[in-house]
């Protein structure tokens, strides 16, 4: 009985995803791209970096990367807390 409910829920959810894949814009032709064109043109002048992706990761959206490093730090502190008796 539980399997049938899970099966229906899975099929409904999967069809949601497939519909969203079909309605998405064509693969290689982005419709809007002002933000990315701004990054490509101004990365060298504003952030001074040749690698546009790194200029986004550390300068335009640097706060994401701070959050990112915090996620890794949280996991490590969590694992240290979980295995803390191992050292004794």
């Amino acid at each position: 009985m539980k399997k049938i409910i899970f099966g229906i829920a899975f099929i409904v959810f999967f069809s949601f995803l497939v519909i969203s894949a079909i309605n998405m814009r064509p693969f290689g032709l982005p419709t809007f791209s002002e933000m990315d064109d701004y990054f490509i043109e101004n990365a060298q002048s504003e952030a001074g970096a040749n690698n546009v992706v790194t200029s986004i990761v550390f300068d335009y959206r640097g706060f994401d990367t701070l959050g990112e490093a915090t996620v890794l730090f949280t996991t490590i502190v969590g694992i240290v807390a979980l295995f803390r008796r191992v050292k004794k």
């Binding site: 504003e46 952030a47 001074g48 240290v80 295995f83």
Partner: protein, 162 residues
Amino acid sequence: MKEMSRIVKIVTNFIYGFIIIFGFYIIAHGHLTPGGGFQGGAVVASAFAMLLISYGQLKAKKFLNINIFSLLESCGLTMFIVVAFLGLGTTFFYNFLANSGSWFGNMVIPGINPGDMNTAGVLPLMNIAVGLEVFAGLGIIVLLMADGAEYTKKKENAENDR
């Protein structure tokens, strides 16, 4: 994990230096070539994983010390957030070194250029800080999970003996 055969240990002794240097290369050139703090840190951490596997978990503890890694990781993260704080004159993550002529402040020739290390202001500092944090952090994860595997296995054998 028990240690591997002698051949593996010899090859590991030979290779791990180059892997670490290659990892630092990726970290340091993050703002020019593809790569950066996270990718370079992962490469260096793969060298530690290789050492751990080839020398087994007990022997590896002698030269892969968790406390040093934990210290390195906290220093890397503190350096990263302090560099972000230094921009607080204008805003939190402001790139105050870019195009300013000081440390990493050279102007970049717009368009395609061979790439000059001394550019992109705060980015190389942040790359180094994140690289430090990632390779120390992944080193800790690899060592702790190796410890954990030993600890959880031993517990099970203890129950069987009783």
